[in-house]
């Protein structure tokens, strides 16, 4: 008897209906997720009187908020600081991490596994739990209120080393051989074979590092009190204590700070999301 025959197949219209409903639900949730960001941009274009009106599209859109933020406070200075710090950290970190990743993946030397495990274990150390001793050390090194203090401690993190090592492990053994037969030393192999091959992962990591540093708040907050050294995140956080009622200015400032990261994300979403996805398990 085949009375309990399975019926895995639905009619065409049923499938279309379910899929259509599914897409509608997904789209509504996605809109809700994006809503706070849309709201931020909306308020940034609204005059102060309209800040708490409920319409998403401004009735009388204005650029005054942006103009005030860019001219009334040294916001451009904060942006330049942020850009300088983030770019420097990114370049130096990529340089150091590719070197370390290459050695940990492709060179054999005693203590390599121990080294890798100790680097890996720092994954669990987060900035908030070491902020006090780190501040003491950086202060003792004379880097308080300096670009060096903002930049140097931010360079070192296990995440980049780990991802690069995994990437280098996956490259075929033969790639170095031709170079080695030509008598190339390790530096030459690293510089002219490994680095060019790393371009795809390096661009993904460059974006991630840049964003992480552009967005970082706790370390700059701790290490800089001189407003000339402030990065944008400190700038807007401080903005809040000065203009606590001027939400239109704050949202304009927030928009200026968030837009570069969102644009980078839109352009590089594939690379960013793929590299984070592999960070989970591989």
């Amino acid at each position: 008897m085949s009375s309990k025959r399975p019926q895995p197949y639905f009619s065409r219209s049923q499938v279309t209906l379910v899929r259509g409903l599914w897409m509608v639900v997904t789209a509504i949730l996605a809109f809700m997720t994006l809503f706070p960001l849309l709201w931020m941009v909306s308020i940034a274009f609204k005059p102060a009187a309209e800040s708490f009106s409920s319409n998403l599209i401004p009735q009388s859109p204005t650029l005054d908020n942006f103009i005030y933020v860019l001219t009334g406070v040294p916001f451009i200075r904060y942006m330049v600081n942020s850009f300088f710090v983030s770019a420097t950290v990114t370049i130096v970190a990529l340089f150091f991490h590719t070197m370390a990743g290459y050695a940990l993946a492709r060179l054999r030397f005693p203590g390599r596994e121990v080294m890798f495990l100790s680097i890996f274990s720092t994954f669990l150390v987060s900035l908030p739990v070491i902020i006090v001793p780190l501040f003491v050390i950086v202060k003792a090194m004379g880097m308080l209120n300096s670009y060096a203090g903002l930049i140097i401690p931010a360079i070192f993190n296990a995440f980049g080393i780990f991802l690069l090592r995994q990437y280098y492990l996956s490259l075929p053994k033969e790639i170095e051989e031709a170079a080695r037969i030509d008598g190339a030393g390790y530096w030459r192999i690293y510089w002219s074979v490994i680095l060019p091959l790393s371009r795809p992962i390096m661009s993904a990591l460059a974006i991630l590092f840049f964003l992480a540093n552009w967005n970082s708040f706790l370390w700059p907050l701790t290490i800089t009190s001189d407003p000339n050294l402030w990065v944008v995140q400190l700038g807007i956080a401080n903005f809040k204590s000065q203009y606590s009622a001027s939400w239109n200015y704050m949202m304009a400032a927030s928009t200026i700070v968030a837009i570069p990261t969102l644009i980078l994300f839109v352009i590089f979403q594939r690379q960013i999301m793929d590299s984070l996805k592999t960070s989970g398990l591989k």
Partner: protein
């Protein structure tokens, strides 16, 4: 014709160069790792150790250190605000970890199919994670302003309003949790998508032929095969909840630990003690205890789940 002597000589020669080549490889290896190893040691390793050292010292206003033994730890024991911070931290983690798990997995299942539409949806769900936490905190704070913020108005219209999202000690922490979930869920969605990708399609096909419905397939195939991913997600979100930058940044900007210390998680309280009151020794002592507690919890979790290696039939 090659004589035995020649072969032996060549082999000896080869052996000698291999030995020196080996040493060259060692030296190259150390030199390549050196910059990062040194940096991680100075800016991560040493601070970890220094935290323990600082915890038995007291720092006065002029930066002078004096050894005080267990005094900081005793002070912790008798400090109601420390216990309050521990309680708030635990509450935050207990709410955040399951919510992130459900939201991350739910979103991943929602956009699992690979097509154009879902690619766009994934990016939209992930977008909040790209925004700085200061901006996240400011935008949400603006939306939940009492009575006139857009969310306050919306909840009022739905008949569940009338309370203050950040001003009421009963709701402030929940608000912080929801903002944290909004910021983090896209990242965990990605991790779950990676895990879902690794489940062979044949399992689902076989189950469909056996007549298993969507719920049965989820319960008997997806969930068991996602155990390594689940392990990773719970582990990472637990650490993020207790010591992550997102908790610090959001709370520091939105509530500074208030109202009535309702959102004063330990990392915020530690920061205030250190940089607000200059109590470096006391802050280091609390940080050390926090790290030890975190290590115990993760080790327990690791032991209970056998490191995420669950047994399942292949």
């Amino acid at each position: 014709m090659t004589t035995i002597a020649e072969t032996a000589a060549r082999r000896r020669h080869a052996g000698r160069t291999r030995l020196s080549a080996k040493h060259r490889e060692w030296i190259a290896g150390y030199l390549f790792v050196l910059p990062d190893a040194l940096g991680l040691l100075v800016f991560l390793g040493v601070p970890m150790a220094l935290s323990l050292v600082l915890s038995v010292y007291e720092v006065n206003g002029f930066g002078g250190y004096s050894f005080v033994g267990a005094k900081n730890y005793l002070r912790m024991w008798n400090d109601p605000l420390f216990w309050k911070g521990a309680k708030v931290t635990a509450l935050y983690a207990v709410m955040l970890v399951p919510l992130l798990y459900v939201c991350g997995l739910g979103l991943a299942l929602l956009v699992q199919r690979t097509d154009r539409f879902n690619a766009v949806m994934r990016s939209m769900f992930f977008a909040p994670h790209m925004v700085s936490l200061v901006v996240v905190a400011l935008v949400w704070q603006f939306m939940v302003v009492d009575k006139i913020g857009v969310i306050s108005k919306l909840t009022a219209a739905l008949g569940i309003g009338g309370f203050s999202f950040l001003g009421d000690p009963n709701f402030a922490l929940i608000t912080i949790v929801l903002v944290s979930v909004w910021f983090l869920m896209g990242f965990y969605m990605l991790i779950f998508l990676g895990g879902l990708q690794d489940i062979p399609r044949q399992y689902y096909e076989a189950a469909m032929i056996d007549g298993a419905g969507a719920i049965a397939r989820f319960w008997f195939i997806t969930l068991p095969l996602l155990k390594p991913t689940s392990f990773f997600v719970i582990m990472v979100s637990m650490v993020a909840a207790v010591a992550g930058a997102q908790a610090f940044d959001i709370i520091y900007v939105m509530t500074k630990g208030g109202p009535a210390n309702a959102t004063s998680v330990l990392i915020v309280y530690i920061y205030q003690q250190a940089f607000g009151f200059g109590a470096f020794g006391y802050a280091a002592a609390m940080a050390s205890i926090l790290v030890v507690a975190l290590m115990i919890v993760t080790a327990l979790f690791f032991a209970l789940t056998r490191g995420g290696r669950f047994h399942h039939e292949q």
